[in-house]
């Protein structure tokens, strides 16, 4: 059995009285990609945002249950949320680069986390952009605004930005849904590359994408996990009728 990077136990999320995620338990293996699929509104984003405590920002949102990382429950009261988020990066649905230069977009995180040396920062910027397959396109315009990049480039910048702070895992919420097919293919390539080092959890509505990039797939329905298995199995021979119906496009 592969090493487990993060493990959610009986996780439930409520918005006020409305339960969006109910009793979900999932293990995420290190150095692999897990896809979360399911119809719109079934709680995939809500679940994903609970993992790095991003839902703390939403005033009436309550997350109960446990999230084990190494041997700590990071959902326990008193957890240093800021430190947790460094370890669990996040890439959002819409590319959201900072209103800063390309260089600053990357350097901002590591600088905050203690890298002050200019040369070291330069190295981190180059390395992160290279790994996000963006270096060649940006090396001549590092100090120009990141907002002038195309959508696909911006999304790769956001990925570069999150790996620059050296996380253990990266959460991606439909990272390619706002992009054209070519940019999407680049992002997928990148994901396959990054899983050598990181645990990646990706929410997607694109069944082909899930099949292409992930090792394991979890199928969500109305806040619960219906089935969780290897992607091969899920796509060829699922146990549950709902899963095969959803994957073959009969609903959702």
């Amino acid at each position: 059995m592969a090493e487990i990077a993060l493990s959610a136990k009986n996780l439930s999320v409520h918005y006020g009285a409305h339960g969006a995620v109910r009793n979900v338990s999932l293990d995420f293996a290190a150095k692999s990609v897990t896809a979360l699929i399911g119809p719109s509104g079934c709680g995939k984003s809500t679940f994903l945002r609970s993992l790095n405590r991003m839902n703390d920002l939403i005033p009436n949102c309550k997350v109960t249950g446990e999230i084990w990382m190494k041997d700590r429950d990071i959902n326990a009261p008193g957890t240093d949320v800021v430190a947790i988020r460094q370890k669990i990066g996040m890439v959002f649905q819409r590319p959201n680069p900072f209103h800063k230069s390309i260089y600053e977009n990357i350097a901002y995180g590591p600088r905050y986390h203690g890298v002050k040396n200019k040369k070291k920062l330069d190295e981190i910027v180059e390395e992160s952009l290279t790994r996000a397959a963006l270096w060649d396109e940006t090396k001549d315009r590092l100090h120009k605004s990141a907002l002038a990049l195309s959508g696909g480039q911006q999304q790769r910048l956001c990925i570069a930005r999150s790996i620059a702070v050296k996380p253990d895992m990266i959460l991606m919420d439909e990272p390619a849904s706002a992009l054209d097919p070519v940019s999407t293919a680049k992002i997928e390539e990148l994901i396959s590359e990054l899983k050598r080092e990181f645990c990646i959890v990706i929410v997607t509505h694109n069944m082909y994408q899930a099949a292409r990039v992930s090792e394991k797939t979890a199928f969500f329905l109305t806040g619960q996990v219906v089935e969780y298995d290897s992607t091969d199995k899920m796509f060829t021979d699922p146990e549950r009728a709902e899963t095969s119906d959803y994957i073959s496009g009969r609903f959702g």
């Binding site: 991003m54 920002l57 800021v82 959002f92 800063k100 600053e104 901002y108 905050y112 907002l147 999150s162």
Partner: protein, 295 residues
Amino acid sequence: MKAKTVDKIATGVFIGIAAFIVLLLASLLGYILVRGVSHISWQFLTSPPQTIREGGGIGPQLFNSVFLLVLTMIITIPIGIGAGIYMSEYAKPNKMTGFIRLVVEVLSSFPSIIVGLFGLLVFVNFFDFGFSLFSGALALTVFNLPLMVRITEQGLKGVPLSQKEASLALGISKWTTIRSVMLPVALPVILTGTILAAGRIFGEAAALMFTAGMSSPRLDFTNWNPLDAVSPLNPFRPAETLAVHIWKVNSEGIAPDTPEIAAGASAVLVILVLVFNLGARMLGRYVHRKFTATK
């Protein structure tokens, strides 16, 4: 068909009203400028006023207005921005913050003469700051501070949530996120708002008559020691501002060229307030470009 006619009539009426207001404003401005501009000269802008002879200027008043503005801004900008950040990012929405917001709204729209009388009672008499720049600055703070709080709050609320989330998701503290990501994005709004607020302060008269006073002691513009009684920089001296001076000259001036002085001073005031407004817009746009297009 019917709805279309109504729509046309309504549009016509609105355009008419808008045109009338623009015309009114333009003629008012034109009137003040035409009457006053010819009287503006270097000599007029720099020399002290005369009580009975002609040839008086507005030098000290101009200086007082600017100095008072600076003093007020020194007080209100840090506190206002700090409080705005607190209200927008840290305060939990509850009855208390609702109440603070109400107070902020009410204070910033208070009639300025009331603020002036309040200043007379509290700052001038009770705290015994006397008729002074300091009392004036505190009175102006009463309505400028709420304005600054609101401007900051609006600026921060206008920052896309995705920016804040992006920073927090990197494991960066809330305060650094506000300082390094949100404030720069909000800066054009805050800057524009601040300068517009400054324009209002600059033209304020009613709140200053009983706080900063209506007299300007003889100033020695070679003495820059703020503790000296005759120094222009002394914040505890009485200081008549430009707007107050216009009011005073108009109501009790006895120099033979009183109408010209009032007209010239009004023109200077109007021009400066216009400069504030246009400057605010231009600077806001410039900063916005600087922060978004190229670094």
